[in-house]
């Protein structure tokens, strides 16, 4: 059989990137600061978000989108903070993409928010590829999961601006090696900002809250200007 070759100009990300750019434009106009949180399953995204929403909601209008493959547990946990929360059940998909964000925002005036937090699906591979139109991408790494995670998932840490080491309250008990973790992070993203905290005890939460609050204010300021 005779064959012919059909060229396909196809970066698989083109569609997503275009949609993400549109979302970014929307949030720039409204001055909504958007955070995309990445981590392995169980690193503490929801726990950190619960605390964050609770602390911010007296001062700012904040909301969250939660991606989960199957359950609504996380969104229910977050909703207890009183902030508006929407669940995105991703089913077969192992990550959120810009289209899912756009859909989830339909009929919800998220542009009225000062900050929108997106909890991605617990997974360090796929979510790293997908721009969601966020201002800040955060990679979480708990003290229990191995200091060399960044080396195993370089893109997740390379594409994030901030690394948050979670569960610091049990660092000693699990023999967490701080220097090794920093070294591994440095190897995939030199100069990356690193915070260490425990959402459970509140230790180290101030630095995180300060950073977020500053970014919320500067985004609002830029939009207003």
């Amino acid at each position: 059989m005779k064959m012919r070759v059909v060229e396909i100009a196809g970066n698989l990300m083109i569609k997503n990137d275009a949609l993400a750019a549109r979302l970014r434009g929307r949030f720039a106009e409204s001055g909504t600061f958007v955070v995309n949180m990445l981590s392995s399953p169980g690193s503490g995204k929801t726990t950190l978000l619960e605390q964050t929403l609770r602390r911010l909601s007296s001062t700012y209008r904040v909301g969250a989108l939660v991606g989960d493959q199957a359950t609504a547990n996380d969104s229910q946990r977050l909703a207890r903070s009183g902030a508006p929360v929407r669940q995105i059940t991703t089913g077969a998909e192992c990550r959120l993409d810009a289209e899912m964000i756009a859909k989830a925002l339909e009929g919800w005036d998220a542009t009225g928010l000062d900050a929108l937090f997106i909890e991605n699906v617990g997974n360090l591979i796929c979510p790293a590829e997908y721009d969601l139109g966020e201002d800040l991408r955060v990679a979480l790494l708990s003290v229990t999961e191995g200091e060399d995670k960044p080396l195993k998932y370089p893109l997740a840490f390379n594409s994030s601006r901030l690394a948050v080491i979670t569960k610091s309250d049990i660092a000693e008990a699990v023999g967490y090696d701080r220097a090794a973790a920093r070294r591994c992070i440095e190897q995939v993203n030199p100069g990356m900002a690193v915070l260490e905290l425990s959402a459970r005890t509140g230790d180290g939460m101030e630095a995180w809250m300060t950073l977020i609050a500053e970014r919320i204010r500067s985004k609002a300021f830029t939009a207003a200007g």
Partner: protein
């Protein structure tokens, strides 16, 4: 895989298996006489492969005539199976190009995959067969060109290929670099179709 292709299957909770048949409505599930394969895909690290299989076989998808007893479990090292998602989006692009150009059959597909994309070649090949069953690309060959990671080392002022597992460290001088030149690719290049 012969005949009845379940293109994707995942479970919703420990007791229930939910079949997600792409392009098929739940009420069409009942037309499936038998399940040949279960592709397990979960982001939960708590379940061992064996536990997963037994849970899956104990469960029952709504509308499915038979329990997937005879199914072969295809466990994946990568959790969740990233490659099935990639294979499905590849297929989507191919189907839309084919529809535009009136192409009815695809024999081979060329893709370029970077070392940092997290894609495992064998898993992608496997996913391709699963994803393309009953489509215009059924039985087609997926040709994967692997693109190694290359960074620009500021200190050496040169392109360098870091050793795997060392992040973005320059293999020559040991300086980490944040500047990735190649290795993030996830590209469709071309497809071969009957002339």
């Amino acid at each position: 895989m012969q005949g009845h292709a379940i293109r994707f299957l995942h479970w919703r909770n420990t007791a229930t298996v939910t079949a997600t048949l792409l392009g098929a409505e739940p009420n069409e599930y009942s037309r499936i006489p038998r399940i040949n394969m279960i592709l397990c895909c979960s982001n939960s690290r708590n379940y061992g492969v064996v536990a997963r299989y037994s849970r899956v076989t104990r469960g029952r998808a709504p509308g499915l005539q038979s329990r997937p007893r005879e199914a072969t479990l295809v466990p994946t090292e990568v959790e969740p199976l990233h490659e099935i998602t990639v294979a499905l989006s590849l297929l989507e692009s191919i189907e839309s190009t084919a529809a535009e150009q009136g192409i009815e059959r695809v024999n081979a597909v060329h893709v370029r995959v970077g070392a940092l994309s997290g894609i495992v070649r064998d898993a992608l090949l496997f996913s391709w067969d699963v994803a393309t069953a009953r489509t215009i690309a059924e039985g087609s060959q997926l040709l994967v060109e692997e693109v190694p990671l290359v960074v620009f080392c500021e200190r050496c002022e040169a392109e360098r290929a870091p050793h795997s597992g060392t992040g973005l460290l320059c293999p020559a001088c040991g300086t980490p670099s944040a500047h990735i030149l190649r290795g993030r690719e996830m590209q469709l290049v071309s497809m071969e179709v009957p002339a």
